[in-house]
C-alpha cells in the first residue's frame, strides 16, 4: 500500500515501470498520417500558397492598426523616418562634417536612412515572428512560414507612405548644395523605375534573413539581443552617411572596398542613389551581387525555416 507523500498528494508514490501491455492492437498504418509532421518541401510551398489570403489579410489589418493607440495615428509612418533622417543630418552632416565630397548629400542621406530603417524593421520583426506570435502559432494549424511572410508584406505596405515621402524629399531638397560640394540637379525620369526591382530583391533579402533568424530566435531567444547589435553594425558599415571612396588610398582600403561591394544592402542603396540622385545607371556588378545574395539568402532562409517547422509551437 502507498504511504502518504511529503506534499500530501495522492500521486502514485511508486512510479512503476510501464506494465506489460495486456492488449496488443495490430493495424495497417498506411491510411494514417503522423499528426503535426512537417510536410515535404513541395507540399509546404503549396500550402503556403493556399494561405496567401491569410498572409495578405493579416498584414493589411496589422498595418491599419499599427499606430491606432497614438493620437496622430498613421501620420507617424511618415513623421518617424523624417525625424530620424533629421537626426542623422545633424550629427553626421553638420557636426561630423562627413558630407565633404558627396554631391547631393541630403538626398544621399535620406535614401540611406529611409531604406535602412525599412530593412531593419522588416528583418528584426520577421526574426521575432515566432516568439511574439506564440498564441497564434499554438491556436491554429497553418504553415508557420506564413508569419514571416506576412510580416514582410506588412512592412512593405507600411512603408509605401515612407517611400513616397522619400521620393518627394529627394525631388525637393535632395540637391540643395552643402558647403563646398557642387550639386547635381535631380530630375525625375524613367531611371526612377528601377526602385521596383530593387524593392523586390530587398523583399526577398529581408524575408530570407527574417526566416533564418526566426528559427534561431525560436531556439534561443538570446539571439534577439544579437540581432539589434548586428543590424546596427550593418547600418554603420553600409555607407549610409559616407562614401566608399573615403577608403581609397588608405591602408587596407581595397579590402574595405571589396567587402562593401559585396554587401547587398550597400548595393540596394547604391543603385537607388545612382538612378535617383545622379541620373545614371548603377554599376551592373551591384545588380549581380544584389540578385545573387538576396535570392540565395531567401532560399537558405526558407529551407532552414521549413526544417524546423515542428518546433515552433513548443512552450517556452
Amino acid at each position: 500500500m502507498a504511504t502518504p507523500t511529503a506534499e500530501r498528494s495522492a500521486a502514485p508514490t511508486h512510479v512503476d515501470e510501464p506494465r506489460q501491455a495486456g492488449h496488443v492492437v495490430q493495424l495497417d498504418g498506411s491510411s494514417l498520417v503522423r499528426v503535426g509532421a512537417r510536410p515535404r518541401l513541395l507540399d509546404y510551398v503549396q500550402r503556403l500558397w493556399a494561405f496567401r489570403h491569410f498572409i495578405i489579410y493579416d498584414s493589411h489589418s496589422k498595418v491599419q492598426t499599427a499606430n491606432s493607440n497614438d493620437a496622430m495615428g498613421r501620420v507617424w509612418m511618415v513623421v518617424n523616418p523624417i525625424l530620424s533622417g533629421l537626426a542623422y543630418f545633424l550629427v553626421f552632416g553638420l557636426l561630423l562634417d562627413l558630407s565633404r565630397g558627396i554631391s547631393n548629400f541630403i538626398g544621399y542621406l535620406i535614401i540611406g536612412v529611409f531604406m535602412f530603417r525599412y530593412t531593419t524593421s522588416a528583418v528584426s520583426s520577421g526574426a521575432s515572428s515566432m516568439v511574439s506570435n506564440q498564441s497564434v502559432v499554438q491556436a491554429f494549424n497553418f504553415p508557420r512560414a506564413s508569419l514571416p511572410f506576412a510580416i514582410n508584406v506588412r512592412e512593405l505596405f507600411a512603408n509605401v507612405p515612407m517611400l513616397i515621402v522619400m521620393a518627394l524629399l529627394v525631388i525637393t531638397i535632395g540637391d540643395i548644395p552643402l558647403a563646398d560640394t557642387p550639386p547635381t540637379p535631380v530630375s525625375v525620369d524613367w531611371l526612377w523605375l528601377f526602385i521596383f526591382p530593387v524593392l523586390a530583391l530587398n523583399f526577398l533579402l529581408s524575408t530570407g534573413l527574417g526566416m533564418l533568424l526566426a528559427r534561431a530566435v525560436s531556439a534561443y531567444t538570446d539571439v534577439k539581443h544579437m540581432i539589434s547589435f548586428g543590424m546596427r553594425i550593418w547600418f554603420y558599415t553600409s555607407a549610409v552617411f559616407f562614401t566608399v571612396d573615403r577608403f581609397a588610398g588608405s591602408p587596407g582600403g581595397e579590402y574595405i572596398e571589396f567587402v562593401m561591394y559585396h554587401n547587398p544592402m550597400f548595393c540596394v542603396l547604391d543603385i537607388i542613389r545612382s538612378t535617383w540622385l545622379y541620373g545614371e545607371m548603377a554599376d551592373p556588378y551591384r545588380w549581380v551581387v544584389l540578385t545573387v545574395s538576396s535570392v540565395s539568402i531567401f532560399i537558405i532562409g526558407f529551407l532552414v525555416f521549413w526544417h524546423g517547422e515542428e518546433k515552433y509551437g513548443r512552450e517556452r
Binding site: P4, A11, Q20, H23, V25, L27, L32
Partner: protein, 346 residues
C-alpha cells in the same frame, strides 16, 4: 466495489471537511479502516489476476481507426529563473543564480497509448493539472510528444476558447482573420460569416475593436469563430461551459451539427453529466497518466469517488481508488504492420 462514498458520513463530529491541513494522512476511524481493508483485499486480488494473463492480440481494420496514440509522453522543458534552487553542485548553483537562467523539466504526461475508432465520442476527464490539455495539444499536433507519436486519419481540430485574436481589430475583421487562419478560402469565410455572427450574438458590437469587448464577449466570439470549420476529428475543450444560458443553448445546437459531421469527437469537460450524456467512452487522466479507459458510467463513478476523497482530504482513500482503477486499465500496445508506420504529414 466498495460502498458508495457519497453516503458515507464520518462518525467523528469534529472531522472538518475542508479545514485544517493535516500534516499526516488523516487517522482512519473505525469505518475508514474497514473501508481501506476492504479495498486492500481487492487490490491484492486484481494484481494477482493481472500477472497471470497473457496479452490479448487484436487485429483492427485500418479503415476503422481515427486516432492511434502510440506510447506518447510529454515533458515540458521551459526556461525558469529559479531553477538554481534545484541545482546540487555548489558552483553551478551560484552560476545559475547569478545568470538567472536554467531549464525546468515539467513532466506532464507519462507514456500512454490508446486507439480511437471512427464514430466514437470520447470524453476526457481528470482533475486540474492532470495533463488533459497537454494530451489535446499533442493530438492537434501543436507540440510534438517527447517520446512516441500520434497518428490520425487527418489532423484533429481543437474547438476551444483559446483561439488567438487580434486586440486592435474589430470583431468583423477578427472573424475574417480567424477563418483565413484556419485555412478557409475568402469565399468560404464569407459564407460562414453570418453563421459566426449569429452564434456569437454580437451583432451590435461588430465594428468595435476587440479590446472594448468584455472577456465573456471575447470568448464567445472566439468560440464562434472556431466552429466555422467542419473538421473530421474534433476536439472540444471545456467549450460548453462558457457564456450565459442563451449562448449555451445556441452553442449546443451548433456543436451537435459539427459533431454529426465529425467522424470522431473528443470532449474535455469537468461536467460529468455532459460526458455521460454525450460520450460512448471515457478516458480518465490523472497525475499525468492514463488511469482508466472505458465505459462512461463506471469511469465517472470511480472519478467521482476519487475527487470526493480528495476534497475531503482523505488522501489514502483517494490513493486506493487511484490504484484500484489503474489495476483495471487495459494497457494497449499499438503495433503497425511492418513498413506501414505512418511518416507523412496530414
Amino acid at each position: 466495489m466498495s460502498t458508495p462514498v457519497r453516503n458515507y458520513t464520518p462518525r467523528r463530529v469534529n472531522w472538518r471537511s475542508s479545514g485544517a491541513p493535516a500534516t499526516e494522512a488523516p487517522a482512519p476511524t473505525a469505518t475508514g479502516e474497514l473501508d481501506i481493508l476492504e479495498d486492500e483485499q481487492l487490490f491484492e486480488e486484481i494484481s494477482w489476476a493481472e500477472e497471470d494473463s497473457a496479452p490479448v492480440v487484436e487485429r483492427l481494420d485500418s479503415s476503422d481507426i481515427a486516432v492511434a496514440v502510440d506510447h506518447a509522453s510529454m515533458i515540458y522543458r521551459i526556461r525558469s529563473s529559479t531553477e538554481y534552487l534545484n541545482s546540487t553542485g555548489r558552483f553551478s548553483r551560484q552560476l545559475r543564480r547569478i545568470t538567472g537562467s536554467g531549464w525546468a523539466n515539467v513532466p506532464a504526461l507519462q507514456d500512454l497509448s490508446f486507439v480511437v475508432r471512427q464514430g466514437e465520442s470520447v470524453g476526457v476527464i481528470g482533475t486540474n493539472g492532470s495533463g488533459k490539455s497537454t494530451l489535446m495539444k499533442l493530438l492537434t499536433g501543436k507540440i510534438r510528444p517527447t517520446t512516441g507519436e500520434i497518428y490520425a486519419t487527418s489532423t484533429p481540430i481543437m474547438l476551444g476558447v483559446n483561439a488567438a485574436l487580434v486586440k486592435q481589430l474589430s470583431g468583423r475583421e477578427n472573424i475574417k482573420l480567424g477563418c483565413l487562419a484556419m485555412g478557409l478560402t475568402p469565399k468560404e469565410a464569407a459564407e460562414k460569416y453570418d453563421m459566426v455572427v449569429e452564434l456569437s450574438g454580437l451583432e451590435d458590437s461588430l465594428n468595435l475593436p476587440l479590446k472594448s469587448y468584455s472577456s465573456g464577449m471575447a470568448s464567445r466570439l472566439q468560440f464562434a469563430i472556431a466552429t466555422a470549420v467542419d473538421p473530421d476529428i474534433l476536439i472540444i475543450d471545456e467549450a460548453l461551459n462558457t457564456g450565459d444560458a442563451q449562448f449555451r443553448a445556441r452553442t449546443k445546437r451548433r456543436l451537435d451539427e459539427v459533431r454529426q459531421q465529425a467522424g470522431c469527437v473528443f470532449l474535455v469537460s469537468h461536467s460529468l453529466g455532459t460526458i455521460k450524456q454525450m460520450c460512448s467512452r471515457v478516458l480518465w487522466i490523472e497525475q499525468g497518466r492514463l488511469l482508466a479507459d472505458g465505459d462512461p458510467e463506471w469511469v465517472t463513478q470511480q472519478y467521482q469517488e476519487y475527487t470526493e476523497h480528495k476534497s475531503q482530504n482523505r488522501m489514502r482513500s483517494a490513493q486506493i481508488v487511484y490504484e484500484r482503477t489503474l489495476m483495471q486499465l487495459d494497457q494497449v500496445q499499438v503495433e503497425f504492420d511492418s513498413g506501414t508506420r505512418p511518416k507523412r504529414a496530414g
